[in-house]
């Protein structure tokens, strides 16, 4: 009997060890997958593989940045002089324009002579900027292909324009998204911290048993509400309220996002800081009271300072909760990819971008990889937050 029991215990221990191993391996695999997909964007060009951008061979311009090409196609740049070429207006030539430029007779009924037409058009038009599929470019092409710079970590992180589906050159600058995420998170914490801390102090020190027993489950209930419900609540209640109170043109803004995220971060902040406040040793409290300090003085000078590292940890976990939140911010922040300057304008966060765009990004494509790179950035951000949390939680003094 005893031997059987020993064997079973061994088996159970083995099963437990196995589960731990499987969990760690899964986490590692996910991280490897994330970074493998995300980092591969830096060896790519921000255009489709079969895109050809070319100019007349006499044109001195041979390199263009993605931003310059976008400005040319948006007709903000209309003369080659603006980008270091001759004083000649830029003539865009796209596949759509082939039908109006050449007759069907010239192109052939199945476009078999289109390549020759394109080639001769580029040769006789000095100011041309050609954007075509490589399918219709002849082998002995007489134009000059424009070099487009690879995506570099610098251009990715510091770029200010996020137009991942722009044609012909995708604009992948994530600075507005990173700043938007940080901005809305900061707002959430500024909003949640006073409320959260006040509630925690009330629950730990001031409230009597009855109130506390009632309040605690309510706060914990707040943590159990699905985030999409918060988003819906934000959209229906907070967005119109923000718009009315601050007289904004549109209520979807960083402020609305901050309030919703603040509410979502509240349970984390309250429960953890309340636990920290409760760990203050009775001896410390009683010593303070015995010295003649009032209850409030004890809270302010003894209990809160004692629990300060726990409270900091609560704030940091609250930030962690807010920074990765997806659905709620997607619904209430307005999603304009601009560098935020105030809380009253729409902004776009990293998680909302991933959620909104992953469905349309073709598997393995440029856009897909860019979204994974965003995921990497988000991972690094939360990782740093967790490291800080570990550091503070360990630093418990007294």
């Amino acid at each position: 009997m005893r031997r059987l029991r020993k064997i079973i215990e061994k088996i159970v221990e083995g099963v437990l060890a196995m589960s731990a191993a499987i969990t760690s391996i899964t986490v590692l695999l996910i991280i490897i997958f994330l970074f493998d997909e995300g980092l591969s964007i830096f060896s790519k060009k921000p255009v489709d593989d079969d895109t050809v951008i070319a100019v007349n061979s006499s044109n001195p311009v041979s390199k263009l940045t993605g931003l310059q090409i976008k400005d040319i196609f948006d007709q903000k740049i209309t003369n080659w002089k603006q980008i270091g070429g001759k004083n000649d207006s830029i003539k865009l030539f796209r596949l759509d324009e082939a039908g109006t430029t050449f007759t069907e007779q010239q192109m052939g009924s199945n476009f078999e002579r289109l390549a020759i037409c394109v080639d001769s058009y580029v040769v006789r038009t000095p100011g041309v900027l050609l954007y075509f599929s490589s399918k219709y470019i002849p082998k002995d092409f007489h134009g000059k292909r424009i070099e487009i710079a690879n995506i570099t970590p610098y251009s990715f992180l510091m770029g200010k324009q996020w137009f991942p589906t722009a044609q012909p050159v995708a604009q992948l600058g994530v600075l507005p998204l990173i700043l938007g995420t940080l901005w809305v998170t900061l707002g959430a914490i500024l909003f949640a911290l006073p409320f959260g801390l006040a509630t925690a102090i009330f629950m730990a020190e001031i409230a009597n048993h009855k109130v506390r027993n009632y309040l605690k489950p309510v706060v914990e209930l707040l943590a159990g509400i699905p985030s999409v419900v918060y988003g819906f609540f934000g959209l229906i209640v907070i967005v119109p309220a923000v718009q009315k109170i601050f007289n904004l043109p549109v209520g979807e803004s960083g402020l609305a996002g901050s309030i919703v995220l603040g509410i979502m971060a509240l349970p984390t902040i309250i429960t953890i800081s309340e636990d920290a406040l409760r760990t203050t040793p009775r001896a410390l409290k009683e010593a303070s009271l015995a010295l003649g300090a009032s209850h409030w003085q004890t809270i302010r000078r003894v209990i809160v300072p004692y629990a300060s590292s726990g409270i900091t940890a609560a704030i940091i976990l609250g930030i962690g909760r807010a920074i990765g939140e997806t659905m709620a911010v997607l619904m209430v922040t307005g999603n304009a990819a601009v560098i935020p300057h105030s809380y009253f304008e729409p902004l776009r966060t990293i998680p909302a971008t991933i959620a909104a765009e992953l469905g349309e990004a073709a598997y393995g494509g440029l856009h897909f990889k860019a979204l994974f790179a965003l995921g990497c950035i988000l991972f690094i951000m939360t990782f740093i937050i967790n490291l800080i949390f570990e550091f503070i939680a360990k630093k418990k003094k007294y």
Binding site: K70, F73, Q161, Q167, Q243, V250, G251, N335, A356, E360
Partner: protein
């Protein structure tokens, strides 16, 4: 002894969990083979939902699942084989056509309805008309105050759809003539959200499918000839082609999958199916 019994119970529970999970999995696979998946354009979601309801009344055995997400989401899902029919409110891009070409087998593109795109503002807004040029300037960021359009001296809040939306792409191609949107525009995730937001903000402007317009917003008349004449954004004007922001709404599916897709698509194209399209605020094909 007691612990041994507990272990035994635990093991039995585990095993039974595995068992039930297995059978559940099998059931899923079985129903999947019959289920028709439709995915894509949010614009087409409203009438397709009604079509499915009516279709299921006539064919109680059929099983159809419908998901939105945007035209691009539907097309990507079709390329990856995750849906049977993609609803799309824009044509395929050359890149997408190439991808279908590489897969082989060919695709079928059925126009199931036409849709006018309405430019909407708040009813309190004094502006009634807009030219195509002004519209382009607003969305590319050249105009951002209503007094440029003889309105109040207020900053506009410019609303657009998300980039996954076919309406977003259609608007970019045909109204902005391929130029990029200004990056300061607010992007909302559905037609309904744009209507809701415009109805609440006096300075907002947005574009939605005519099928989503309600009494809480005002539809702007549009001039297609540089301000000489203005055409009201109404179904009748879309029908007689005087209102030119009109686009086809497609169902796209692969040809070798047409046995599965045809019955439903044919129903939508039938007289009773097209009646549903009309009552939902869209224009029938024939």
């Amino acid at each position: 002894m007691k612990t041994v019994v507990y272990y035994f119970i635990f093991a039995v529970l585990l095993a039974s969990c595995g068992q039930s999970a297995n059978t559940a999995g099998k059931k899923n696979i079985k129903s999947k083979t019959q289920q028709l998946n439709i995915k894509g354009s949010d614009t087409e979601l409203s009438f397709t939902q009604k079509e499915i309801e009516e279709y299921l009344k006539k064919n109680p055995d059929a099983s159809i699942s419908l998901t939105g997400g945007g035209s691009s989401v539907g097309i990507t899902a079709l390329i990856e084989g995750n849906t049977d029919i993609a609803m799309t409110s824009r044509d395929l891009t050359t890149g997408e056509t190439n991808e279908f070409g590489e897969k082989g087998g060919g695709i079928k593109k059925m126009i199931v309805a036409y849709d006018g795109l309405a430019i909407i503002v708040n009813p309190a807004n004094k502006v009634d008309d807009i030219t195509m040029k002004q519209l382009e300037d607003i969305y590319t960021g050249k105009i951002d105050h209503w007094n440029d359009l003889q309105g109040t001296n207020q900053k506009m809040s410019i609303l657009s759809r998300e980039s996954s939306s076919g309406t977003y792409s259609y608007f970019k191609e045909h109204i902005l003539e391929g130029k990029s949107y200004s990056s300061t525009i607010t992007q909302l995730t559905s037609n309904g959200q744009i209507v809701e937001s415009v109805s609440q903000s006096p300075d907002a402007i947005g574009y939605v499918s005519l099928g989503y317009v309600n009494s809480k917003v005002k539809v702007l008349g549009i001039s297609f000839d540089g301000g000489k004449t203005f055409v009201e954004g109404k179904i009748e004007n879309v029908k007689n082609n005087s209102y030119k922001i009109k686009r086809p709404l497609y169902y796209i599916f692969e040809e070798n999958n047409s046995a599965k897709a045809d019955p439903f698509v044919n129903y939508v194209l039938s007289d009773s199916g097209q009646k549903i399209v009309e009552t939902a605020g869209f224009i029938k094909v024939k």
